[in-house]
């Protein structure tokens, strides 16, 4: 998820809250295909990813692109994106009710590795994430479009000069990012289930992860997410779990203050001259 957010954010520089809407939509799509129409995962997963990508592009095409053409800046885009998130959240609430929807029930098979217990799903998540990530890196470095994306995120002004079709690249980026969101959504749905409001906080957490990891550097997003998760888990051992939330965000805040460019961020936050 964080990675999906990161790639869109880095390239389009849109604080893409609507990403949460895409995620939730994907989750419900997965729920419908698997739990309701009882299709096999082999069918459901591609459909979900496709739908998510489609929705992502739809948003990009019908909202962001026109806004950019009207010369809107990040602020306007962010508000629009916020509006979209709210809109979708409530549409889902109307269609699917606010009850939690699950695709399976009961616990998962567990494995003991000495002290720590992991569920089969955790293993799957780990594998999937690594795979997705590897593929993504390969795509970004090896292919023409991939390089285009990187060029665009490095320097939006210069990109068109070297013959990159900006709008098309944005569309591509959104498609990929949304696809990643779908993957995250599937895993989440499999583990916990779907609720209309699931998107918002997840987006914010992944945004935090991106920042912690350092914007403009994809592996950062991944490591940032891991670091964020670790702090969340460990804080409970150190102090009363009531303070978990506060503690985590205090840490992130201090981190932001001390190292705004993130753990691995190369983009320095000097004021643009």
């Amino acid at each position: 998820m964080a990675v999906g957010f990161a790639i869109i954010y880095n390239t389009t520089r849109v604080f893409h809250l609507a990403h949460g809407a895409v995620l939730t939509c994907a989750a419900y799509c997965f729920y419908v295909t698997v739990a309701v129409s009882g299709l096999s995962l082999l069918v459901a997963v591609p459909i979900t990813v496709a739908v998510a990508a489609a929705l992502g592009c739809f948003i990009e095409f019908c909202v962001y692109a026109p806004l950019r053409r009207r010369g809107a800046g990040p602020a306007a885009l962010m508000i629009a994106s916020l509006g979209l998130l709210v809109l979708f959240q409530n549409l889902f609430a109307i269609v699917f009710s606010t009850d939690i929807r699950t695709v399976r029930s009961g616990g998962l098979s567990i494995f003991q590795f000495g002290a720590l217990t992991v569920t089969s799903l955790h293993i799957v998540i780990a594998i999937v994430t690594v795979c997705v990530f590897a593929v993504l890196q390969l795509f970004l470095t090896a292919t023409k479009q991939g390089r285009a994306i990187r060029a665009l995120s490095d320097n939006p002004q210069l990109a068109p000069v070297v013959g990159i079709e900006v709008e098309r690249t944005y569309l591509l980026v959104t498609a990929i990012g949304s696809g990643l969101a779908a993957v995250a959504a599937i895993l989440l749905t499999w583990d916990l289930g779907v609720q209309p409001e699931m998107g918002f906080l997840i987006v914010f957490y992944s945004a935090v992860a991106v920042v912690v990891g350092g914007a403009g550097y994809l592996p950062g997003a991944l490591l940032g997410a891991v670091a964020f998760g670790l702090v969340q888990q460990l804080s409970i051992w150190q102090l009363d779990s009531r303070w978990q939330n506060g503690a985590v965000f205090a840490v992130v805040l201090i981190f932001l203050a001390l190292r705004p460019q993130g753990l691995f961020g190369s983009r320095l936050n000097v004021r643009r001259a």
């Binding site: 699950t102 009961g106 569920t119 916990l192 409970i236 779990s241 939330n245």
Partner: protein, 361 residues
């Protein structure tokens, strides 16, 4: 803005016009939106409306029709205050039924000023302290004591709790702790989580390390019970006893946790099975849990008392309700016995395989 103002004015006109007629009006200031909306509709709003329909079926209150007016308070205090004003001043309701605690507490000063009884199924005892309040739900601290009683009876020594960070839950956990302290039992670990959380592994891992014989789960949403049970299994954490509140019987729990819910102990308001089978399920299509039953009774007993009082004076009606003996409804025969908070006691039950419930005592 002009348009909406006009609408408001139109509404006021409408409201006052309606007040001219004779029906008895009950204002329902309840949650109708947000993450808990659906549970709330199932187990509070609809049962309450059902009680009103049944009363009308019996010919209303001394021939007068009863009208229920539902307003969404979003479970939040600011909206709750606005809703209370709307119901009292525009709809001229004879009583307000409000369950969620923040809007209930925000509504109290307004209702007191206007002299309108506030019926509630909130687990917060504060509403009972008001001269206009009446609480049909056993307050949270009573639940805490109930849990402690269970612990003592089973001679357990090491117990832990995982509870949502909200007011009534906090109250019951504190009551639990102090009751345990009296009988020299130690609460080895008390973890909390933010409302709406779905990942409890961190808390559960910590509790597991303390190896309690019993785990108390307290939450405001049924779904989180499901997640806790699920993640306990996934952490291979299986305490001898798990005890919780009657929301465990909500279908959502089984939906999430599957059979893991079987055998879980819980405190329940004794819902009258016969009533549920005869009155509730046929029309609603699902079982009433404690909230549903109490929402029904809170209104039914008020309307009975209203008929008995034979006056419109709200204070008399409320007093008649509190002294009213021999009511029999969704939770069997009960009454306020003169108190502002019901004397209703919990019973311990256990979730049976396949969704049933076996009452222990």
């Amino acid at each position: 803005m002009k348009a909406s103002l006009l609408l408001v004015l139109a509404g006021i006109a409408y409201g006052t016009a309606a007040a001219a007629q004779e029906p008895i009006k009950i204002g329902l200031s309840q949650i109708a939106s947000g993450p808990y909306a659906d549970y709330w509709n199932r187990q509070v709003n609809k049962p309450a409306m059902l009680a009103i329909d049944d009363r009308n079926a019996k010919g209303g209150v001394n021939g007068r029709k009863v009208v229920g007016i539902l307003e969404d308070n979003k479970g939040d205090a600011t909206t709750g205050a606005a809703v209370a004003h709307k119901l009292i001043e525009i709809d001229k309701v004879n009583a307000i039924f409000v369950a969620p605690t923040p809007p209930a507490l925000a509504a109290l000063p307004i209702a007191e000023a206007a002299g309108v009884p506030v019926l509630s199924t909130s687990t917060s005892p504060k509403i009972g302290q008001s001269p206009w309040g009446a609480v049909a739900q056993p307050p949270a601290d009573r639940a805490g004591i109930g849990y402690a009683k269970f612990v003592a009876e089973h001679g357990l020594k090491h117990v832990a709790s995982i509870a949502e960070d909200n007011d009534s839950v906090a109250i019951s956990v504190n009551a639990f702790r102090s009751a345990l302290a009296k009988s020299g039992i130690e609460l080895v670990d008390a973890e909390t989580y933010k409302a709406g959380s779905q990942d409890f592994t961190a808390q559960l891992t910590k509790i597991r390390a303390a190896q309690p014989e019993l785990l108390l789960m307290q939450s405001a949403s049924a779904a989180s019970y499901g997640f806790i049970l699920k993640q306990m299994a996934e952490l291979d954490f299986r305490p001898k006893y798990i005890i919780t509140y009657y929301q465990i019987t909500d279908p959502q729990v089984r939906q999430v946790a599957g059979d893991l819910v079987n055998g879980v102990y819980f405190l329940q308001v004794p819902v009258d099975a016969e009533w549920n089978a005869r009155v509730f399920k046929p029309r609603m299509g699902y079982d009433a849990d404690g909230n549903g039953a109490l929402a029904y009774d809170a209104l039914a007993i008020y309307l009975d008392a209203y008929a008995k009082a034979g006056t419109d004076d709200p204070k008399t009606v409320r007093q008649t309700m509190l002294d009213y003996q021999g009511y029999k409804g969704a939770v069997g025969a009960w009454g306020y016995n003169g108190q502002a908070v019901t004397q209703l006691q919990f019973e311990v039950a256990q979730v049976a395989p396949g969704g049933g419930v076996t009452v222990i005592h």
